[in-house]
Structure formats: structure tokens, C-alpha cells
Assembly symmetry: none
Homo-oligomer: 235 residues x 4
Amino acid sequence: MSVAPEKRSFVRLPREKRMRDIEKAARMVFSQHGFDAAPVNEIAAEAGISEGSIYKFYTNKRDLLHTVLRTWYLGMIDDFKAKLEGIEGTRARIHIVIWQHLKSIKESPDLCRLFYSEVRNAPDYYSTELYDMNREYTRVLMGILAKGMAEGDIRTDTSPALVRDVIFGGIEHHVTAYLMNRGDFDYEVVAQQLSRLVFCGIAADKPEPRQDLDRLIERLEQVTDRLDQKSSEGG
Amino acid sequence: MSVAPEKRSFVRLPREKRMRDIEKAARMVFSQHGFDAAPVNEIAAEAGISEGSIYKFYTNKRDLLHTVLRTWYLGMIDDFKAKLEGIEGTRARIHIVIWQHLKSIKESPDLCRLFYSEVRNAPDYYSTELYDMNREYTRVLMGILAKGMAEGDIRTDTSPALVRDVIFGGIEHHVTAYLMNRGDFDYEVVAQQLSRLVFCGIAADKPEPRQDLDRLIERLEQVTDRLDQKSSEGG
Amino acid sequence: MSVAPEKRSFVRLPREKRMRDIEKAARMVFSQHGFDAAPVNEIAAEAGISEGSIYKFYTNKRDLLHTVLRTWYLGMIDDFKAKLEGIEGTRARIHIVIWQHLKSIKESPDLCRLFYSEVRNAPDYYSTELYDMNREYTRVLMGILAKGMAEGDIRTDTSPALVRDVIFGGIEHHVTAYLMNRGDFDYEVVAQQLSRLVFCGIAADKPEPRQDLDRLIERLEQVTDRLDQKSSEGG
Amino acid sequence: MSVAPEKRSFVRLPREKRMRDIEKAARMVFSQHGFDAAPVNEIAAEAGISEGSIYKFYTNKRDLLHTVLRTWYLGMIDDFKAKLEGIEGTRARIHIVIWQHLKSIKESPDLCRLFYSEVRNAPDYYSTELYDMNREYTRVLMGILAKGMAEGDIRTDTSPALVRDVIFGGIEHHVTAYLMNRGDFDYEVVAQQLSRLVFCGIAADKPEPRQDLDRLIERLEQVTDRLDQKSSEGG
DNA sequence: GATGAATGAGGATTCATTCAT
DNA sequence: AATGAATGAATCCTCATTCAT
């Protein structure tokens, strides 16, 4: 926890390194105290820097919070896209989205709570870069849903926005207790349940032709051919 | 510039009336400013009472907020139960729950925002009377779900808690923009869509087509493998 | 000097008395430190009140300064009018104005310096109540000048505004050193000298000697020319 | 939002040139913002130099201000003396002083305001080089007055210091509005009015012997002689 | 019961100046 | 000489709550 206030003496670090130090310290202190209760001087101490220096890099305490959360969000978006790479099938992709989102929350409950309570309720949220990132984040899901509808996996009268809200809102609601340090959740299980609920809720009635089925039939045909050949050879 | 406050004359009112006046004033001022930004003196002025007197009735500014929200919640619970009276059928009952919840939000967005941003994120939420009321509120839905499962309308492997979270979380997420005075929503439409999504997601009668298919495919795969082996062995 | 921070315990005073206490304390502290360097907590201590209470009466530290100066100005205006009562004669009245102004400065150099350096240079001075009071203050002189011109004591081509500036600006310039605690001045003597200078500078009866002489010389020149011509013609 | 400063490349300039650049930049920035509100980094940027480098040349932000004002003052003193060159007559010389001072103010209101509000009110003004320059500046007028008294143009019971204060204080007071960007003034007109007021206020009653009069009388004597001659001739 | 004067903690922020590189 | 990262002091103000009257 907060480092003793030793005499810090003019240590010159490259800008990048310093900013990372500060951000790291801020992440720690904000996580611990929340935004309002987080004293800037504690962040400074934790970063091994003077209080004033923070304002050389960040205009605001709030700017600092947003930076911390942006970095986090960036990582989440990357993870998201990486995980989705090569995954086929609407259902599987939806499952990944849910699973990954739950996993992110599980891993960073403090940042998550910070985002929910400090950023998203703020009146200026919509003019925030974090809002844009959130849109990019959810856009991944929206794309999946659109494709799913185009391909006939999802009923065309489905409202993608509502599905998005059900997923992210449902998750948020479900993890509330965990975020408040009450209770826990198993993201494997929850992801399974939730993706099933959602997919069943929006799935089109007739199943689409499946590639694995095609392949299987092909193999069966080949086997049958061979058996046919054998029986005629042996005959 | 050093403005003297107006004089108010002593008027003695019955305790009940006073409390209702204060609560009404508080509801107004909180709705307008939010909790933190709401000055107690404005509430006092609005209620026609002195600042200090408020503390004769309410221990806290926050107590006042909670009282306001409790009154609101009480009404919501009543409406809920009244609406549900005589409604039969799991799906219909779920629809009512959703519809009613959306309607309440539509009608009192300010109180709703207050609840979301001030009460539910507070660390002491779980020891709050509002938490209990919220449980009672959601218990209505939980009862419906339990009955639905017992009667075979809902798959028995459904997690009622998750359904609850999907419903209330999904709604909350969906109305966020409206609560922030950005955009609007039509609760008839949304209720329709959401209840369908949820009910389809958990309904018992319609088996998940894909998972059955998966099992069939699996069995076919095994048969094919065996055939395959046999056909090549025999060569 | 600043009273020791004893335990102050809820002493309830009438609003008027409190405000006077604070104002008195502020006057003292501002005089000692100037505006910027005056700590509000010292004012509070001096007034025997808590820091926060000051803001119940005055919106600002600056509001407090202005109040102090307004009170001072009010007294000055009263003194002014009282002194002028029954004084006849333009010159005598001008003398009073000068004398009284010098006297006020002599008696309250600190407030005077405060006014010069903090109020009058501020960009919002012209929307200030102190500006209005200053106008009322100088209007007394303007009235004297107008009457003087109407009665023929003062040349009608005199600019009253310029006379006002010469008087108040001249005084201000003259007392600068005194205000900075360097040097002194005798307001009887200075008033005598200045009022004489000003009055002679604008008096109607004593024509400017030089310009008359110029005219005389011109006439003589013309006469001489004629004589000259005649005397040489006649030759 | 954590904007990285642009990189500047090392360029080595002769000391003189650098100092002039900085001074010019400072003049601009001080004029625009006033002293306190002028950020040193803006001066540095304007001068195309780093913040730290400024302190290689000037010990202080205030030193920089003083340097700017000294340069300005130097020019004013030169103008003053140049304008006065060859001007004869106390009244004419006083008029020049007033006219020139008004003109300087008109041309550099920003520097003038800076001087009035930042330098002259400072407690250390009297140990300042600018104070010395100001004395030199006013000494020109003092010399004129002394000579005027010696030559009998000015009453010998006049206080030169007071006249100086009336002139410079009167001017300062008169142009206040202009310096605050409210209103304007015509220095030709004001100079005329003020020099007349002042000179009339201090002029000696008996006009001094004038050279043109001498000449005229001489001519008259000659004419009279001639006429005398004629009349005796003709007689 | 009602008043309203009095309390007092609590913290982000600026920016001229320094000094290691 | 030039840089620019680092320093750190210094303080006004709010407003929920208390308590003497």
C-alpha cells in the first residue's frame, strides 16, 4: 500500500515510463478507494512522484480515471477480437462475447465498478471517449447479430439493440453482488446459461444446413462406396 | 452579496402532514438536482420549514432520499401485485412484470435514476430497507418463474436468478439513454419484444434444435468412424 | 494580532453584530496583509468565528473586501456632504473637497491602498457598487464646478472632468509615497497649495496675462506698421 | 488530455538576439494577459525557446516584466528630450511634457497599465531601476519648473512636486477609462486643456519682459524719431 | 416544536522556478 | 547553452449537520 513519503529527489524519467507509473498507481488507488475518496497525493506517492507532476501529464483527476479505464477498455476490445478470430457460428460467437465479458469483469471488478458508478452515470458520458470505446465494444456483438440474422440463424424480427441490452444488462445485473464484494460467480457456468437463454430466445425455428453435416455425409458416401466396391470384389 | 434570509413564522402542523410535505419537497428537489447537488436548504424552503427542522423528522439527507424512494417502491410493488391479480399463464405473467416495470420507469425516470446511481451502488445497499423492498419486488418474478417450472412451462434447468437478471438488467440497460434524457422508448413495444425473447429463451416445449442435432451428428460420426475402420481393415 | 485559536463554542449572536465583527476583522487583516495575502482563517479567528461562518454572510473573500471598502466610502461621502454644508463660494468649496479627500487618505491609508490596487484596477470595476459610490463621491465636486461655471467664478471653457481628474489624480499621485509608508504629507498645506493651483488654473476673473499681452502686441505692431509706412511715405 | 509537448531542436543564437526575442515575446504576452495571468510557458513558446532557458537570461518573471518596461521607458525618455530640444518658453515646454506623456500612453496603453498596476504598487518599487527611470523622466519636468520659477514665469511659492503630481496624476486619472478599454481620449485636446489649466494655475502675475516687445518699442522709437525729424523739418 | 446561526473538515490545483541531463 | 521533467507550497469554499435559543 501507500509508500512512505521518502525524500524524492529529482529523478528524471522518460515521459512514457512516468505516465505508465502514474496510471498504474492511479489504477491501484482508485480501485481501493473509489474515485471521490481517492486522494491525489496518495496516487502521487504510489507513483513516486510529486503531486503537482501528475498535472503535467493529466489535466484532471477525472482525466486520470478515464485514462485508466481507457487502457482497460482497449485491452478488453483486443481480447474480444482475438477470441472471436476464427470462431464460426452465431451461437458460438455469442457465447464467446458473453464468456469474455464475464471473464473481464471477473478479473477487474474494481475497474468495472468504477466504470459503472463513475463514468456511465455522469451526465457528460456521451461526449466521452469511453463512450465511443463502449460503442466499439458492443458493435462487435451487433455485427454478430446482424450476420446471424442475415444467415437465418436469428429471427429477423429480433431487435439487435434489445439483445445487446439483455446480454450486457443481464450480465451487469448478475455480477452486481460480486462487484460489491458479496458473492461470487462462475463465468463458465453463467456464460453457458446465459448464451443458451439468449440464443434460444432469438433462434430461428429451422436449423440451417451445417458444414459438419455436409462433411459427414460426404464421408458416409465415401465409406458406402468403398463397401460397395468390396462387396462386388468379394462377390 | 450577503442577502438576509426571509423570516418564517412559527406554524405548527401535525407530524404526518409535515413529513409528507418534506418528502414531497425532497422528491422534487432530488429529481431536479440529483442527490449530491440537492441542497438541503432548498428542500426546507420548498417544504416551508426551516433547515434544522428537517432533522427532527429525518436523521439524514440520505434517509430522506431513501424515504422518498421507499414510498415510490411501495407504490410499484402494489401496482405489480394488482396487475398480476388474476393473470394466468407463465408467459402472460412474465409479460406483465416486464410491462409494468418499463411503465414505472417511464413514469418516474428521475426517481429511477436516483435509485440506480445513488442507492444501488452504495456500499451499504445490502443493509438497506430498499434492498429488502427490491427483493420483494423481484420475488414476484421469482415466484412466477418457480411456478412456471413446476408447471412445465419453463425448462427445469433454467436459473431463475439469471432470468431475473436478464429481465431487470436488460430493461435497465435499455432505458439508460432515456434516463439520461437522450432518446425515448415505447414500453408496449419493448415489453412485447423482451417478453418474447425471454420466454422463448426459457420455454420448455420448443427443444433446442441445435443441441439435438449435435447429438445426432455425434452419433453419426461414431458410426461413420466404425464403418470407416471396417471398410479399410477389410481391404 | 491574530487571537489564539481557543475552543470557540457555539455562541449565538444577532446577525448584525456578527457581520460587524467580521467586517472589522477583515478590515484589520486586509489592511495588514493586502488582499491576496490575507488568509481567510485569520479573519475568522480575529472575528472569533469559524471560517465557514464567514460565507454565511459574505459570498466571497472579495465580497468581504468590497463590503469593507463600501462602509469606508459611505463614511467618506457623508463626511463630504456634512463638511460642505453651508460653505459658500466656489473656491472655498473646492478647497473643502480637496482638504477632506486628503484627510480621508491620511486617516485610512491602508483602505485607500486597497482600493487603488485591488478594486480600481480590476476589470470588473465598472460593474461594481464601489464604482457607483465613487461616482457619487466625485459628483459632489462636479456639482461645485458646474455651479461655479454658472455663477461666473470659473471659465466656461473649462472641462469639469479634467478638473476632477487633476484634483483626484493629483492627490493620489501626491500621497503615493505616504501610502507606501514612505514619507508623509501635511494635508493642510497640500490642500492649500492644490486648491490654489487648481482655482487659479480655472478662475474666470484673472485673465490669462499672456494672451492679452499677445493681443496688445499685435495691435501695437499694426499701429507701428501704419506709422512706419506714413513716416516713410511722407519723407 | 495529456498532450505531449512538441519537440524543439537545439538552435544556438547569439545572446543578444535571444534576449531580444524573449523580451519581445514577453511584451506581447504581458500585454495580452497582464502580469499574473501571463504564463511563462507561453512567453517561452512565443520566443521559440524552452521554459527553462528564460531563466538563463532573466532571473525572474518579474525581472522580465521590468526589462520590458525599462526598454519602453528608455524610449519615452529619449522621445521626451528630443521633443523638448530647442523649445523655449515655460508654458510651451510644459505643454510638450504633457502632450508627449499623453501620446506615449495612447500608443502603449498595455504597458502603461502594466506599469501602473504591477510595478508602481509593489512594495519594492522604490528600490527598482524603474523607479530611478521614472525619477529621471519626471526630473525633466522638474527642471522646466525650476527654470520657470527662476525666470519669473512661475510663482516662486509654487511647489514643483505638487505640480508634477497634478500633471502626471491628472493625466493618469484622466486616461484610466482608456486603459481599461472603456472610452478614448484625444491627446491634442487634453494636452491643450491641461497645460492651460496648469500654467494658469501657477503663472506669475507680472508678465516677464518680452523680446518682441523690446523690438517693437525700438521700432516705435525709430518711427517717432523720424516723425520728430519730419515735423521739425517741415516746421 | 421550531429556528437558523454556527460549525469544520477536507483536497484538488496552479505555475514559477529548479536542476539533472 | 539548452532542455523540459519535476517540484511543492499554499488555500478558498461548501454544505450537511448540530444545538443554543
